[in-house]
């Protein structure tokens, strides 16, 4: 592995979330301890209802925990006000979802620049960053298109650009490939790998094992708990894997 992992960018202790649904308490998350190192790419896997999306939403402040702590960049954030969370989300956290990533009536360029402008980045700097990101993600040619004119794969690339424009300390992705064909999904995953290689911390939630297998570490969740985790490495001799696929006997 090329990157030396440093201190935790994101960590939780005893993170729990209980919902009331029709008068019944639902334990969506039942005490999760998680540490994500700077530059690490972590995938969270599990069947629907396992709590993986709830976890991601708590990490990004889209929802509040019932119990437990969250530290982002060494700073406790679970008790932040709505307003402070909004500021934090804009400046330090990048989000990519399965749907609803872009503003429909803004162009690709405007969509990507928007978060930068919202935190007071000058128009000129926002534009420079947008151009670099769109180019980096291979969608420069679509800068003036509207989201409705993009293919699914292009849409998620632009969503990645938008999520990254404020140089977030962590990128949170919730089933970002869930709506894509396998070719586009593979491209988006490969881009996330490259971003990780460039030092971006990524937490990805998915039910797709092939997508998860691109991560440095895969965390398995069941019934609101982390039940297992495993570190994955790039094969030393990937060709050896394929060479064993076809065995012709005499």
């Amino acid at each position: 592995m090329s990157t030396v992992l440093s201190a935790s960018v994101l960590s939780t202790r005893g993170l729990a979330k209980t919902y009331a649904s029709d008068g019944v308490e639902v334990l969506a998350l039942r005490g999760v301890d998680l540490d994500v190192s700077a530059g690490e790419f972590v995938a969270v896997m599990g069947p629907s209802g396992s709590g993986k999306s709830t976890l991601l939403h708590l990490l990004g402040g889209l929802d509040r925990p019932t119990a437990g702590t969250i530290e982002l960049d060494g700073r406790p954030v679970e008790k932040l006000s709505e307003r402070d969370w909004a500021i934090l989300r804009r400046s330090r956290i990048g989000f990519v979802f399965q749907f609803f990533n872009l503003v429909d009536n803004l162009t690709v360029a405007e969509n990507v620049e928007l978060p930068a402008r919202l935190i007071g980045t000058s128009a000129r700097d926002a534009r420079t960053r947008r151009e670099a990101l769109l180019s980096r993600l291979g969608v420069s040619a679509r800068a003036n298109a509207l989201p409705s004119q993009l293919s699914g794969g292009q849409h998620q690339r632009v969503a990645l650009a938008r999520a990254l424009v404020n140089r977030p300390c962590v990128l949170l992705a919730d089933e970002p490939t869930g709506n894509l064909d396998s070719g586009s999904a593979a491209e988006v995953v490969s881009l996330m790998r490259q971003l990780r290689d460039e030092g971006q911390t990524v937490v990805l939630v998915t039910h797709d094992a092939r997508v998860a297998s691109a991560a440095d570490r895969v965390i398995s969740m069941r019934d609101g708990l982390v039940v297992d985790e495993t570190a994955l490495v790039d094969g030393e001799h990937p060709s050896a894997v394929v060479s064993q696929l076809l065995q012709l006997e005499a």
Partner: protein, 169 residues
Amino acid sequence: MRYAFLALLAVAPAHGYELKQALEQRFGTALAPLNAGQVYTTLARLERDGLVLGADVPDDGRQKRIYELTPAGRAALETWVATPSPGTKLRDEFFLKLVFAAAGGIDSSGAVIDRQRRATLQALRDVTSVTANGNDAASLLADGTALHLEADLKWLELCEQRLNRKDTR
């Protein structure tokens, strides 16, 4: 290797080395290396069974045996192509471990499933890293393998649910 050779000989007669090269070219890195001994054993058996016919021809002062497909060979090839192949078998070794680990008090089924999941995820990572690599035959094979590994993971999830991991850990 038998049918691969029959299929190549259906295109044109060839000698052993040419057949070996043609296979290596077609499948690239997907193919486990063939040794010359295997190649000649296979051809000798095909000839013994009347599916190919060999003839020695002089080549640069040496003898080379050129093989061609016989009518019986063509019929065998056509039957082979026309017959659906048996489906891939499940990992019965894992299943035995799963069934007997807990029964024998050796390990919990949850632990057996966890280990298998970790190994399967790593295999998926390995195989996904080569799906994008050039050679069509190799990447199709790798994609097929990846789909099987994904099915294995779903099956592990099912095993876990049915065996109710809370009680078995």
